[in-house]
């Protein structure tokens, strides 16, 4: 008898859970760690009465697998970067936003106000992404060793710093940033001629570097045990702060030719159940307090309040998908194999 009661109770509980997860008032969010912190979710639910289910992802491919796998039906909103957003638009897996429902977007930093000015954010006049979080790839330099302060990535080629340069082990980015130093308009789509020229430049860069790193921790360890003057800072402000924390005399420069930068956006899936809830979620997050907390907690830039990630005058070049990743990777191997 007691057993039966238990079963009944469990069934009722299960039915209750089923009902709550199936209710229209639950927003299903797919985001990176740090983009939907529990305290924000709690405040959002308190303010709007909408429950939020957050699933965190670890890679771009994972987002694609989850969204493509369910044809957009398993989630309402997701965070993806500008370069990635394109394939979702191509596959009609995202829906355009109605900006009039997201009033806070009008008060964001000037750089993010005109969405048509950010490449990849709009298509056919419709807005598919709302910028939320970004960072730039700048230059970290040792203030004791590099004087005067550099203004451009071209300093990495300076023979004065031979064997004191830490570069990043990634062909795609290295071709792009070198193209920027050469004044090439679109560093993500190089012609064969430009490829040949940049390749030669990168062989020169290689000869000036001490080593290529892959993780921020690795760069830190190399910095500690070697005479390093310049670091190509793939991890931006996070990397700078980590170095400063352990007492390194370093500073950060956004190069004048432009810094490669990534930008994560909120996008609405084509399978969105409650469009109004999704709009409220994004509008809620574009708040000064949350923006400041985001930057403080993650070290990334937010789009609402000024952060150390970029000042208004810095030129940011939003990352795009490159013309041929395989070609860049093969050329990068050739560069590394060059004597």
């Amino acid at each position: 008898m007691i057993g039966f009661k238990h079963v009944l109770g469990a069934a009722a509980l299960a039915a209750g859970l089923w009902a709550s997860s199936a209710s229209a008032e639950t927003l299903r969010v797919l985001a990176w760690e740090g983009y939907a912190d529990p305290d924000w979710v709690k405040d959002f639910t308190k303010e709007t009465g909408i429950d939020v289910d957050v699933v965190f992802i670890g890679s771009d491919d994972e987002i694609w697998a989850k969204i493509k796998g369910s044809e957009g039906k398993d989630f309402d909103v997701m965070a993806v970067n500008t370069a990635q957003l394109q394939r979702y638009i191509d596959a009609s897996l995202v829906k355009p936003w109605d900006l009039s429902k997201i009033p806070n977007q009008k008060d964001v930093l000037p750089r993010f106000r005109d969405l048509s000015a950010i490449k990849g954010m709009t298509r056919d006049g419709k807005v598919y992404g709302i910028p939320f979080c970004f960072d730039s790839i700048g230059l970290i330099y040792d203030t004791d060793k590099v004087k005067p302060a550099p203004t451009s990535m071209t300093v990495l080629w300076d023979p004065q710093y031979q064997g004191k340069v830490l570069a990043y082990d990634n062909g795609e980015h290295n071709f792009s940033f070198t193209a920027l130093t050469e004044g090439i308009e679109n560093p993500f789509h190089l012609t064969d001629e430009q490829f040949a020229k940049i390749k030669d430049k990168l062989v020169d860069l290689k000869r000036n570097t001490l080593s290529f790193y892959t993780t921020a921790d690795e760069a830190m360890q190399i910095y500690h045990n070697n005479d390093v003057a310049l670091i190509w800072a793939n991890y931006g402000q996070q990397q700078l702060k980590a170095l400063q924390k352990v007492g390194a005399h370093v500073a950060y420069v956004a190069p004048e030719e432009g810094s490669l930068s990534w930008l994560d956006n909120w996008a609405m899936t084509s399978g969105v159940k409650d469009q109004a809830a999704a709009e409220k979620w994004v509008n809620f997050l574009l708040d000064k307090k949350i923006g400041a907390q985001l930057s403080e907690r993650t070290g990334f830039g937010n789009t609402v309040t000024a952060s150390s990630n970029a000042s208004d005058g810095d030129k940011l070049v939003w990352l795009e998908s490159v013309e041929d990743p395989l070609k860049r990777s093969d050329l990068w191997n050739e560069i590394k194999a060059a004597p």
Binding site: R207, Q221, H224, D227, W332, N333
Partner: protein, 299 residues
């Protein structure tokens, strides 16, 4: 129920030999299934993939030898390949040179002390290999422990860059990491040499050095060579050490293969390069084992 009992009663004596005949079959199946499923099948897959190609991030399943042609004709790959083979050979020779005296010393110890020391020598194998590379890196750096010590003693007046982020650093790190793998086979082969042979040599008037060079060393050769091939194989498959300590000049074949599976997303070409590496490894193991088997026949 009852019929089944009856059946069992009737059949049991007759059926008795069949399970015992089946047992070796099952044992053989289990013994073959594991290597076939976990070793041969993946390697066959690699071989299969090496004949495919890639177009715009998608694998094209039409057989082609383009990957192999590319390896032999592209000026990038062969020089790196030979350089890597040479590097690993140097690592193997160095490891054996360091390991032999250690193994020899071990055989001179008696009883428990010998095995305690052997276990101590193998302790580094319990530690993660990445941590060891990090440790080596902080020793070798421009301001690393080694350079600071040398500066402090006044042996050098500015940091030496001889072992900092180059091929020498890769050589040194791999040697340090792989010495334990060389000690063991050499120790085992030295231990197997009957004491009587050495005593006989001494009785016939040979000096200690003569006994060592003309009895001990030749008899330990199979172990030494298998230690060399063992170390060579482990070194040539490594891709992390060159990445971590090789700097801009320590690019090796393992790094190229690694990049085909990571950033390049060219699995077929990576598979072809792996097949070539596997061929080298098989040759190295055969060479290491050959002396042993031919010696076995003489004895």
């Amino acid at each position: 129920m009852s019929s089944r009992v009856a059946d069992a009663g009737v059949e049991a004596p007759a059926a008795h030999p069949s399970p015992s005949r089946l047992v070796p079959w099952f044992a053989a199946l289990a013994a073959y299934a594991v290597p076939i499923w976990f070793v041969l099948a993946p390697m066959a897959l690699f071989l299969g993939y090496s004949f495919f190609s890639v177009d715009k991030g998608n694998i094209v399943f039409t057989p082609t030898v383009a990957n192999y042609v590319r390896f032999f004709t592209d000026p990038v790959f062969l020089p790196i390949f030979w350089r890597t083979c040479l590097l690993c050979l140097a690592v193997a020779v160095l490891c054996v040179l360091f390991a032999f005296p250690v193994a020899y010393f071990l055989t001179t110890l008696r009883g428990r002390r010998r095995y305690v020391l052997l276990v101590l020598l193998l302790v580094p194998l319990l530690m993660s290999y990445v941590i060891k590379i990090y440790a080596v890196r902080s020793i070798l750096g421009g301001n690393g422990m080694l350079n600071r010590a040398l500066l402090a003693t006044g042996l050098i007046d500015k940091p030496s860059m001889l072992f900092v982020f180059n091929l020498n650093a890769v050589l040194l790190t791999l040697t340090v990491l792989l010495i334990p793998f060389a000690v063991l086979p050499i120790f085992l082969s030295l231990e197997r040499i009957p004491k009587a042979l050495r005593h006989a040599s001494a009785d016939l008037g040979a000096s200690n050095a003569q006994t060592f060079w003309r009895v001990t060393v030749p008899l330990s050769l199979p172990g030494t060579l298998s230690a060399m091939s063992f170390v060579f194989v482990l070194a040539i498959g490594d891709f992390l050490t060159p990445q971590m300590v090789g700097g801009q000049s320590g690019f090796t074949f393992g790094r190229i293969i690694y990049s085909q599976f990571g950033t390049a997303f060219n699995w077929p070409f990576g598979a072809a390069l792996s097949v070539i590496l596997a061929a080298v490894v098989i040759i190295a193991i055969r060479l290491g084992g050959r002396v042993e088997s031919s010696r076995g026949r003489i004895q």
